[in-house]
């Protein structure tokens, strides 16, 4: 049966069929896969666009998601449902095929993102207020665990850098006291928590490599990065890139860099430096710096094209109307693009033939050919920020 809310893309075909058509004849028109779908956040309007990357079009707009500043999305294993994490603590499950909200809870006062477990059954949310992490049943959004982040010194903390790793397990960072926690949620019984205290000052964001092994947290209060090898027991936090600023005073930071979507290629990671106009390239095996790339401003996201050949970078205010593309073999900037004012995020299609870029103050998403850099299309969106495509469903830590 075709839902009344069936996808817009199906509408012209369905409408062309005579009314007397049997439902069985009409049904195929409504069928579609979800591997080319995605979500674009309209941060100020509290809405999201459901988009498809084959015809580069908007399928539906879903409203009523609250404050979506800094919103992010994870996907169900079947790539049908999107879980949207809003700033105001809202967790919204969207049915992308029906273009509607399937479930929604306001689970905290102020949240910063989330993750979904490898079996697809648990959705975890990272909170600023009341702090800690809350874990929900992915089907019903009923809470299954509430894990306050009370540090060794008794302080309740904001949490950041929440990722999933194999085995119904999440890893995240406590911002205020500087701790890293790993939480395993068994099918029955209480969560098992491993805590690494005293990892460094103000770890503001973190991420894990797509093999689920290397967890890196960026520090704001110190000149370095924290690394945890999640394959080695007992877990140990070690400092890498110590003193990467070489004693220079950092520039003022008008937008914090993000580790989400960092450029990972050929055993190397491209990390946006804090308070510096450069990305730092580190080798995953030795954990040593192997290069730097000077940029036109302070990087926010440094995202590798899926094949790893290029890394695309966007920037902090006030030089945020620009994208630069780094060649990962030569470590040189090979292209500068100006998509529009306030470029907030970018997302590659699954195999990287195109890239979608949100330009907030142009109220547009600009789609580029990722090989030729030619603009292919432009989609209107209200103050767009994050863009998330469904293939993330099948990536560890994304």
């Amino acid at each position: 049966m075709i839902s009344r809310r069936h996808l817009l893309a199906a509408a012209p075909l369905a409408a062309a069929l005579p009314l007397s058509s049997a439902p069985a004849a009409a049904a195929p028109a409504a069928l579609r896969g979800t591997g080319d779908l995605g979500i674009v956040i309209e941060r100020a309007a509290g809405s999201v666009l459901i988009v498809e990357t084959t015809g580069r079009s908007i399928l539906a707009r879903v409203e009523g998601l609250g404050d979506l500043s800094h919103a992010s999305v994870v996907f169900s294993r079947d790539e049908r449902f999107a879980y949207v994490f809003g700033r105001d603590g809202g967790l919204t499950k969207i049915d992308m095929l029906e273009g509607r909200i399937a479930a929604r809870v306001v689970q905290g006062g102020n949240a910063i993102g989330g993750a979904i477990s490898d079996d697809g059954k648990l959705v975890a949310v990272s909170n600023y207020e009341p702090g800690g992490v809350r874990i929900f049943d992915a089907d019903t959004l009923k809470m299954v665990a509430d894990i306050p982040a009370v540090a060794a010194n008794g302080v309740t903390s904001k949490t950041v850098g929440l990722v999933d790793i194999p085995g119904r397990t999440f890893v995240y960072t406590l911002y205020d006291p500087g701790e890293i926690w790993r939480v395993h949620v068994p099918e029955t019984g209480a969560p098992v928590i491993t805590k690494l205290p005293g990892v460094g000052k103000l770890p503001y964001d973190a991420n894990v490599t797509t093999d689920g092994r290397h967890y890196f947290a960026g520090l704001f209060g110190e000149d370095g990065v924290v690394h945890v090898d999640l394959w080695r027991e007992p877990l140990k936090a070690e400092r890498v890139l110590d003193g990467y600023g070489r004693g220079q005073t950092p520039l003022p930071v008008y937008k914090m860099p993000h580790f989400e979507g960092w450029g990972a290629t050929q055993g190397q990671l491209f990390l946006p430096a804090v308070g510096r106009d450069e990305v730092i390239v580190i080798d995953n095996a030795s954990l040593k710096e192997v290069g730097r790339v000077a940029l036109q401003g302070q990087p926010v996201f440094a995202v590798a094209r899926p094949d790893g050949r290029h890394v695309w970078v966007n920037y902090a205010h006030p030089k945020n109307g620009v994208i630069e593309v780094i060649d990962t073999m030569s470590l040189k900037v090979i292209r500068r693009l100006e998509p529009g004012p306030a470029v907030l995020h970018l997302e590659f299609t699954p195999r990287g033939h195109e890239v979608w870029v949100s330009a907030r103050d142009a109220d547009a998403v600009i789609i580029y050919d990722a090989a030729t850099f030619a603009e292919k299309a432009r989609i209107k969106a209200a103050k767009p920020s994050g863009i998330f495509f469904t293939h993330r469903a099948h990536l560890i830590g994304r």
Partner: protein, 107 residues
């Protein structure tokens, strides 16, 4: 070192152009309100109810005077992620933002 200086110089140059346009005029309240919502909002939340940075609602700021807020905007809070906005904003801009935040009237 040269690199950092060079880029900071660029930033100052860009800011100087902004100043040149705004120095003699009243602060452009619409532009500043947009900056507060969009750019302060990256850390303090679009609704200014807080994020990695503290909430900026009138209640949350009740312990700070107008002048305190202006100074924090201009010079930042060393040891925290709050940056100095002096390279990008004039004192009158910062005054106008402090007014908006204290009154809760960010358009």
């Amino acid at each position: 070192m040269l690199l950092a200086r060079g880029h900071f110089g660029e930033l100052i140059a860009a800011a100087a152009i902004l100043w040149a346009a705004a120095a003699s005029a009243e602060p452009d309240r619409a532009r500043l309100a947009d900056l507060v919502i969009q750019d302060c909002g990256s850390c303090h939340g679009l609704t200014l109810k807080g994020g990695l940075g503290r909430p900026l609602t009138p209640e949350a700021l009740s312990g700070l005077s107008h002048d305190n807020i202006r100074d924090i905007i201009l010079d930042g809070l060393p040891g925290t992620p709050m940056p100095p906005w002096r390279p990008l904003l004039s004192e009158r801009d910062a005054e106008a933002i402090a007014d908006m935040l204290k009154s809760g009237k960010v358009p």
